[in-house]
């Protein structure tokens, strides 16, 4: 009698890792740009996670003896108008950006996924009611709806996350619904209905797994947008508040005022925003090419 390896045993785990590694390698070979993007994203995540250990200075303590010093060996990216080290603030700012980026896009895309599939599955008046509601939400540019929400709930990290999540939901729901509509007519969904499975079982077990491709594509495209949106809101003074380090916030106030005499103040935080969004988009594009090249986001 052969022994079946338990799912947690070393052999199975090693096998899984190998298969996962193989898929990663194939992705890297087929989509070099996407792999590069993924690498940069990983670097930003590492910087965010290990900010305390990597950052050379404390991001919050002002140093009035070293105000607006140009980039040097001790302060690679220079210091701001409070003498705070810009590199350290960028590293800690990655925390805010990654937190908002991941939480908002994950929440937005997932809510959109559930709403989109449910809308397609139930058809009829449920579908048309949901669609009209989504129409209403889609009538606003992302930042306008986000600003309106911030004006109601106030600023701060948590409210910014809510303000960014809400406008993303209908955008994902739209795309997912159109994929799920096709799926609804597929024989195995009919079969599941004929077997008398509950609505939630059909939606969650039979339909959701098959719209993962558009979901993942929307999710990755949201991440870059969420980071940009957070930076814009913070830049306007309506997002993350001082003294929390955030990239958009670092471009505001002193950075604009002293731009001519201390150009490193606006240049480096902006580079951080651009680089991270660029990386997310490269990765997202590659993922789309692999999963569903026809989908346009």
């Amino acid at each position: 009698m052969t022994e079946v390896a338990a799912p947690w045993s070393g052999i199975v785990l090693a096998g899984r890792l190998q298969r996962g590694g193989g898929a990663l390698l194939r992705f890297a070979r087929g989509q070099p740009l996407g792999a590069a993007g993924m690498l940069i994203v990983l670097l930003f995540i590492l910087a965010a996670a290990g900010a305390r250990f990597i950052a050379p200075f404390d991001p919050l303590t002002p140093d009035y003896a070293a105000m607006m010093t140009p980039p040097s060996l001790s302060h690679w990216f220079g210091t701001d108008d409070f003498g705070r080290d810009i590199l350290s603030r960028i590293i800690f700012g990655a925390r805010t950006a990654m937190l908002v980026g991941f939480v908002a896009s994950f929440a937005g895309a997932t809510l959109g996924l559930v709403i989109g599939v449910a809308s397609a599955y139930f058809k009829g008046w449920v579908d048309s009611t949901i669609q009209r509601l989504l129409d209403v939400f889609m009538s606003f540019p992302l930042i306008v709806l986000a600003l309106a929400i911030v004006s109601v709930f106030g600023s701060g990290v948590n409210n910014v996350i809510v303000a960014i999540t809400i406008p993303m939901v209908p955008r994902c729901a739209r795309v997912v619904r159109s994929s799920a509509l096709v799926l609804r007519e597929v024989p195995y969904v009919d079969a599941a209905r004929a077997l008398g499975f509950s609505h939630s079982r059909i939606v969650f077990r039979h339909m959701l797994p098959n719209v993962v491709a558009p979901y993942l594509i929307m999710l990755t495209s949201f991440m870059g947008q969420a980071i940009l949106l957070e930076a814009s809101l913070s830049f306007l003074g309506l997002g993350v508040q001082e003294p929390t380090p955030a990239w958009g916030l670092m471009l505001q106030g002193g950075a604009e005022q002293y731009a001519e005499s201390a150009p490193w103040m606006p240049i480096f935080p902006g580079l951080a925003i651009t680089a991270s969004v660029f990386a997310f988009n490269l990765f997202g594009d590659a993922l789309r090419d692999v999963l569903d090249p026809k989908l346009r986001v």
């Binding site: 009209r132 509601l133 129409d135 209403v136 939400f137 009538s139 606003f140 540019p141 992302l142 930042i143 306008v144 709806l145 600003l147 309106a148 929400i149 911030v150 004006s151 109601v152 709930f153 870059g224 940009l228 930076a231 814009s232 830049f235 306007l236 003074g237 309506l238 958009g248 471009l251 950075a255 604009e256 731009a259 001519e260 150009p263 606006p266 240049i267 902006g270 925003i273 651009t274 680089a275 969004v277 660029f278 988009n281 490269l282 594009d285 346009r296």
Partner: protein
């Protein structure tokens, strides 16, 4: 066609009504009373009486339904009410600034379209060559660069290399076109970069798809010149999705202007919006969000009508 247009215009009404309800509810969700928040900054000198007076001046002592109906009836007559901050009619405040924002939006759209269609087509034609990679990187970078940062860099560059700054005072284009353009071309470029990036990507993918179709192969096989194949057979058929994206982004431009106007210190709709949010000027926020939604819905309608004009296959019921 006319019947279709009429039907679409009528269909706009429920969406707009939904938008109005949404904004109205959103503004009533504000924790605490609008008047309390407005007076919060003024310290202890505010009496109950003053607050009650302010409430009745703003119509907040009436029932919610009455407030909503009053507001909607006003909007139907393009009367958005009175700004809670300046005390001026909102239509007047918006009227002052609308021209400037509209001009930037139109300039950015022209820039983006002129750049996107040739670049995207070129990229599709030379797929997987160095040119294609360059265009793709250029357009992904456009999606990633915040327009406000680009604006800051532009101003910084002018200051450092030319000791020059774009003029601060706004001159209408019919008064002095040169002064007007030297001021507004930069924000148009800053917002237009992202716009052109989105449109370039769409052009590339649409042209790539059409190039693989049979009629393009036939056109080439019968010996038509490549230029004719490209313009008449490929790009013309790829135009539909490109127009959609240009139309959609036009409406979104108003959102992009929110940040760009701040950088260039332009007194437009975007700056008005940011100030209204900062000042808790709720009637103004309400009106501006409504206005943006209206522009968006109308733009969508225009795009759909353009469809019929470009592609006779599109069938309307």
């Amino acid at each position: 066609m006319l019947r279709y247009v009429i039907r679409r215009v009528l269909l706009m009404i429920p969406t707009l009504l939904g938008v109005a309800v949404l904004i109205f509810i959103l503004m009533r969700l504000i924790p605490g009373d609008i008047v309390e928040i407005r007076f919060a900054g003024e310290g202890g000198g505010v009496t109950e009486e003053m607050m009650a007076q302010e409430r009745s001046r703003l119509g907040l002592d009436q029932s919610l339904v009455w407030q909503f109906v009053h507001w909607i009836v006003g909007i139907a007559r393009f009367d958005f009410g009175i700004s809670m901050w300046t005390g001026q009619p909102i239509s007047y405040e918006i009227g002052l600034r609308f021209g400037l924002s509209l001009q930037i939006a139109i300039m950015a759209t022209l820039l983006a379209t002129l750049l996107a269609i040739p670049l995207g087509t070129l990229s599709a034609l030379k797929q997987d060559t160095l040119i294609d990679y360059a265009v793709r990187v250029f357009s992904i970078a456009g999606l990633a660069t915040p327009s406000f940062w680009l604006g800051i860099l532009m101003i910084l560059g002018f200051l450092i290399f030319f000791q020059w700054m774009p003029p601060i005072r706004y001159t209408p284009i019919w008064v002095d076109p040169v002064a007007n353009l030297t001021q507004l071309i930069w924000p148009a470029l800053a917002t237009g970069y992202r716009y052109s990036a989105v449109a370039t990507r769409m052009t590339r993918s649409a042209v790539l798809e059409v190039l693989r179709e049979d009629h393009v192969r036939t056109a080439r096989a019968k010996g038509l010149r490549e230029r004719i194949v490209l313009v008449r057979h490929a790009v013309k058929n790829a135009l539909l999705p490109i127009i959609t994206v240009i139309g959609l982004e036009f409406a979104f431009l108003l959102g992009g202007l929110v940040v760009t106007e701040q950088v260039f210190n332009l007194n437009g709709i975007g700056l008005l919006f940011v100030k209204a949010v900062g000042n808790h000027d709720y009637t103004m926020v309400q009106a501006l969000v409504m206005l943006v939604a209206m522009v968006f819905i109308v733009t969508n309608l225009v795009v759909d009508i353009l469809y019929a004009w470009i592609d006779p296959r599109v069938y309307y019921r």
